[in-house]
């Protein structure tokens, strides 16, 4: 069985990637063999260090969780020195996830990573746009296209644009970033959610609102992958609530070329490998010899 997939020019040995912010190379390497992963997507990195939000940052919901980490990170220089240097020892595709509050900030990180060992860069356009008064780049068609175009102008590595699901029409945003030159689209980021502690009578996370992830949101993710697959021609990385091998198949049937495992990895650090093995078994069960066979088995 050949599990390899292509994201543009880049070949992944299998479609299983990690989701940004839910995997820490050093920590997870104590539990799993990173060489077995199709790709590692590291957590959001910005020009300068970001402090993130106050704690508590985590809440649990029915079949999901809310996080309001607020993109805490030590900045791109430290990232290159530490996490990326550590990742270099492994035979996997390395993808940096990039955060920014302005187009310039995104571009500055891209510039610094251009000459690094990362194979691809993922632009997280869910960050608030400071210039436009905090509206997300990812929720505005024009801004989403603009940030993609500017990044593409300078990027020396393939660019993945990661979309937020908190929009009226995901296909408009997807088309805009494709038109602006995105090489790959990944979706979905978290749904905006909130939880109130009815005993303490206040929000569970200090930031009040946060991002909802986990199996609860999978139906929204599957729907969006399906819609976007029918709107653009570039490869799609599907994620949102993947917990097992059949979930991987569901995303690929919906139209994803590769998938990423997020919340499941927080629950169990070995999840990406466990899920990869289950997915192989699924492929075996139906005698699929490669991912295209699975993909084209979908009855529309």
């Amino acid at each position: 069985m050949d599990l390899s997939v292509k994201l543009g020019n880049i070949t992944l040995k299998n479609p299983i990637m990690t989701a940004s912010g839910t995997f820490s190379s050093k920590e997870n390497s104590e539990f799993i063999d990173i060489n077995q992963l199709g790709a590692v997507v590291t957590k959001g990195v910005s020009t300068a260090p970001w402090d993130g939000n106050p704690t508590p940052r985590i809440a649990e919901t029915y079949g999901g969780m809310i996080n309001a980490v607020g993109l805490q990170n030590d900045g791109v220089d430290t990232y290159i020195e530490n996490e990326l240097a550590f990742l270099n020892q492994f035979d996997t595709i390395k993808i940096a996830n990039i955060a920014g509050r302005t187009i310039d900030e995104y571009c500055e990180v891209v510039q610094k990573l251009n000459n690094s060992s990362v194979d691809m860069m993922e632009i997280n356009i869910s960050c608030p746009n400071v210039k436009c008064g905090g509206i997300g780049f990812g929720t505005d068609v024009a801004l989403a296209g603009e940030v993609t175009a500017q990044v593409k102008k300078i990027a020396k590595k393939p660019i993945i644009v990661k979309l937020t699901p908190n929009v009226t029409d995901i296909t408009e945003i997807a088309k805009a970033v494709e038109a602006a030159g995105a090489d790959v689209i990944s979706l979905i980021n978290t749904l905006l959610g909130m939880k109130i502690d009815v005993h303490k009578k206040k929000c569970v996370v200090a930031n009040r609102m946060g991002g909802l992830s986990g199996p609860a949101i999978k139906p929204v993710a599957i729907r969006m992958v399906y819609q976007v697959r029918r709107s653009v021609n570039i490869p799609i990385i599907g994620l949102g609530g993947i917990m097992n091998g059949e979930d991987v198949a569901e995303f690929i049937l919906a139209g994803a070329d590769a998938v990423a495992i997020g919340t499941a990895t927080l629950i169990d650090p070995t999840a990406p490998i466990k899920i990869k093995n289950e997915f192989s078994q699924y492929m075996d069960l139906y005698n699929f010899k490669n991912i295209s066979e699975l993909k084209s088995s979908f009855i529309n």
Partner: protein
């Protein structure tokens, strides 16, 4: 990676406080004082594991003490010896027992639990151990501490027995002191104790609690500023030097 543990005991030792002994050699073997394990619920509506500190451990068992506060701990409280329980390996950096003459151990509420393993380890040295234990009302583990500590002080919020008030007031009033402090309990208690110790120039290790996502260092959910640097309570802690924590 989840390990299956056998439940050897699951008993209510005070109202809403349960003691659970789990047999699971691969986990117990690597246990260190002040570490915790992630405990998984069977209820699939709840995704996240519950971090619970090691109260005691042997070569093949760990003992947990937990308060029933919500859905997860309520579920745990229903387990019998017929059940198995899924747990992670032991996580975090625990207490670092020091080589001094007099140790003072200060616990508040369920935070008393992990201090028992510490007291046991310290009692192997031939040193003085003073324990100061604060409870809301009902007491637990007091006998265990008495059997290994040289002095045990108890305070309760409600006047059930011993001193009424918080442990830091008790320490001040009774002039309890030593060469090194170790503490676990609610944040306000840890902060007050750190302030007290810093004034007296006595080092104190505090075990911090923060809402966790993963418990092993991947999600950055459990941030704590220590020495003006962002630290993960689950991975870099839960134990930090009280003087270095940036208390808010």
């Amino acid at each position: 990676m989840k390990y299956n543990g056998n439940i050897l005991l699951n008993q209510e030792i005070a109202p809403n406080i349960f003691k659970m002994i789990i047999q699971c050699a691969p986990v117990a073997q690597n246990a260190k004082v002040g570490q915790f394990v992630n405990v998984y619920t069977k209820d699939k509506a709840l995704l996240l594991p519950r971090p619970i500190s090691l109260c005691q451990f042997t070569n093949d068992t760990i003992t947990l003490l937990y308060t029933v506060v919500g859905t997860g701990t309520k579920e745990f409280s229903t387990y019998t010896t017929a059940d198995t329980i899924k747990i992670s390996k032991t996580l975090g950096k625990g207490f670092a027992p020091q080589n001094v003459k007099t140790h003072v151990i200060v616990g508040g509420g369920i935070g008393i639990a992990p201090l028992l393993a510490l007291a046991e380890e310290l009692s192997a040295q031939n040193t003085n151990i003073i324990a100061v234990l604060g409870y809301k009302d009902h007491q637990y583990l007091v006998d265990e501490f008495k059997s290994i500590c040289n002095e045990v002080y108890v305070s309760t919020d409600k006047a059930t027995s011993g001193f009424t008030g918080n442990v830091v007031d008790l320490i001040k009033m009774k002039h309890i002191s030593g060469d090194y402090f170790y503490a676990c309990g609610p944040k306000p208690m840890l902060k007050a104790l750190s302030t007290h110790c810093t004034q007296k120039n006595i080092p104190v290790q505090v075990s911090m609690e923060e809402r966790m996502g993963c418990g092993y260092g991947a999600c950055v959910g459990c941030n704590c500023k220590v020495n003006n640097k962002n630290q993960k309570v689950c991975k870099d802690g839960p134990v930090f030097l009280g003087s270095e924590v940036n208390w808010q």
